[in-house]
């Protein structure tokens, strides 16, 4: 497994990072921190970079995300639409990430799993 990282070193983005783990044809993005108007561009860039390599599956793990603003949700919807033949999945659970995706109806449009294991193994 190889990995690389995207980081926002500006004042507002301190503590926000996206670690990219390559598991063969599946790529996992481990997102840590809060996704808001300052950090959403880093999330978008990291997912777009990975999608451009056309892996079989991309899993964006939001387990360590404590806040997801509407701009972050828009980024995820946009990436889901651009994924093409790549299977695009999210790991999200709880009030900070799954709840807003569910309340806004976006959970119906994107494949969301409560754990990374389930996202990686379920059909």
């Amino acid at each position: 497994m190889s990995s690389e990282a995207f980081q926002d070193d500006s004042a507002g983005g301190r503590g926000f990072s996206v670690e990219v783990e390559n598991h063969g044809e599946t790529v996992v993005l481990n997102v840590v921190g809060e996704v808001d108007l300052t950090t959403a561009p880093v999330l978008e860039e990291s997912i777009a970079t990975v999608l451009a390599r056309r892996p079989d599956m991309v899993v964006v793990d939001l387990s360590k995300v404590g806040f997801l603003a509407s701009v972050g949700m828009s980024v995820l919807v946009g990436c889901n639409e651009q994924a093409g033949t790549t299977r695009f999945r999210l790991v999200a659970t709880g009030a900070s990430t799954f709840r807003p995706l569910e309340l806004t109806g976006l959970a119906d449009a994107i494949s969301i799993f409560p754990t990374r294991d389930q996202a990686l193994t379920e059909d």
Binding site: S10, L37, M73, R99
Partner: protein
């Protein structure tokens, strides 16, 4: 539990802060602390945090140079009201068609935006843009 206002009157908490995106985490923390102290459940705390962030993000992006956000939380018995205001050279009200506004209205019990236009004489070219929202306490366990 004390509601922090002694006589049961609504309590106001005001925050004046630079209209910078890097200040959003501070405003979110304050929103969460206030909802926590008012005994809101985790879902309602997250909803208020997200709605407050959305309102402030919207106004920060239309702020005049050097303008400050004025945020006022009003903690009443069964709801928390939030109003945020900014000086702006634009007199257009925030769009109610955007996804962000849909999120804001979905997560709150009330949301509204309006503009106080200044006079036409040109001496005060800045307008005041406001967003107000309210989040009620959930009735018992969901």
């Amino acid at each position: 539990m004390s509601d922090g206002s002694g006589a049961g009157r609504p309590e106001e908490i005001e925050l004046r802060i630079g209209a910078e995106l890097t200040n959003l985490p501070i405003i979110r923390s304050l929103a969460a602390s206030i909802a926590m102290r008012a005994d809101y459940d985790l879902d309602a705390i997250a909803d208020l945090k997200l709605a407050v962030d959305e309102a402030c993000s919207t106004l920060i992006t239309r702020a005049s140079d050097g303008a400050g956000l004025v945020c006022v939380f009003t903690v009443a018995k069964d709801e928390i009201r939030f109003q945020v205001s900014i000086k702006s050279t634009s007199d257009a009200a925030p769009s109610s068609d955007s996804f962000g506004w849909r999120v804001l209205t979905t997560l709150t019990d009330h949301a509204d935006s309006w503009v106080e236009r200044n006079g036409q004489d040109g001496s005060r070219p800045e307008h005041l843009v406001h967003i107000a929202l309210a989040k009620r306490r959930a009735d018992g366990p969901a």
